[in-house]
Amino acid sequence: MRAEIVVRLLLIAVLVLALAYLFVLAGAKEPFSPKVEPSAEAFAGNAQAYIGDEVEFTGVVVDADSAQVEIGSHDNTVVITLVGAPPLEDGQVVTFEGTAVDATTIETTEDRVVTRDAWEYYYMYTASIVGAILALLVAVNYWTFAWRQVGFVPREQPIIDIGSRDMRG
């Protein structure tokens, strides 16, 4: 059993290193990107490089009357004018695809734009937190950590028994 534990831990270590390498690769641009390029942050930093390109972003409407949308995150943001969008409202979250006409103007069409109110994003993140908690609670209900085996094992009995199904299968 000790040999199995050592092998498992070694394999986990190797896989974690491989995963870390993927993170580093994912942050690079070449030879191919795991993201839809360019990112909003990349556009905000060097919009001139993407003039004429098809771009896809999500941003927040900061001035509905002039169709101005702020894209990017943290300290790397830019306000663009979204030409061809349907009527917008201040504070809406807007996802769109269009052509970068210049550094601050993107042309699109109504069928390539979708808007959501801010509360819908709050709902989405709340539902996700509830889902994560549900998965965690169910996992804790049926699994426990066995120190002698250095791993998770099914409980003999769940913390909360919600049915009469055979745990052993």
Binding site: L22, V24, G27, Y123, A135, Y142, S164, R165, G169
Partner: protein
Amino acid sequence: MAELLTHVLAALAIGIILSWWLRWVTPPMIAAAMVGATLPDLNRLGIILPETVIRSTFEVTWGWTAFHRLGGTLLVVLIVALMVPRHYTIPVLAMLIVGATSHYALDILLWRPSGLTSPLFWPLSDYRIPIQGVYLSSDRWPTGLAILTAGIVLWIDRRVMGRAIDHDVDERTP
């Protein structure tokens, strides 16, 4: 992505249905499927620990997006499956894959303005699936449908399949 509650409930329903045919799919294995359904969304770690912080601290490129791509998900699924003793590894791995696959199946149906998915097969390929999505991640009806489906499956599991199991047990009891 669809929000996580929809993913977890979908995995719960799929796990229960599988348990009707496969005796080794016990409640702990159904829980493994639910955990598997959450793994691609580990890219949300970026909300707590932004990529820019890692880049500036360790002077490396960094992208949490790898979690929500085939390569990253495969590695995470293997890591989690190795966290159980050997005799549980294969069934846990299978259920984690079931959960993660259901996650991607639902995400492929998300509407995107370009009509193309993200390059989900990275790093094996940068292919983007052309598909006309049917819902937004902020829509409420997918959650309602997932709750309804999970509820129906749970009801069938308790009222119909539960009785079938008790019947089998009675037949074997002298």
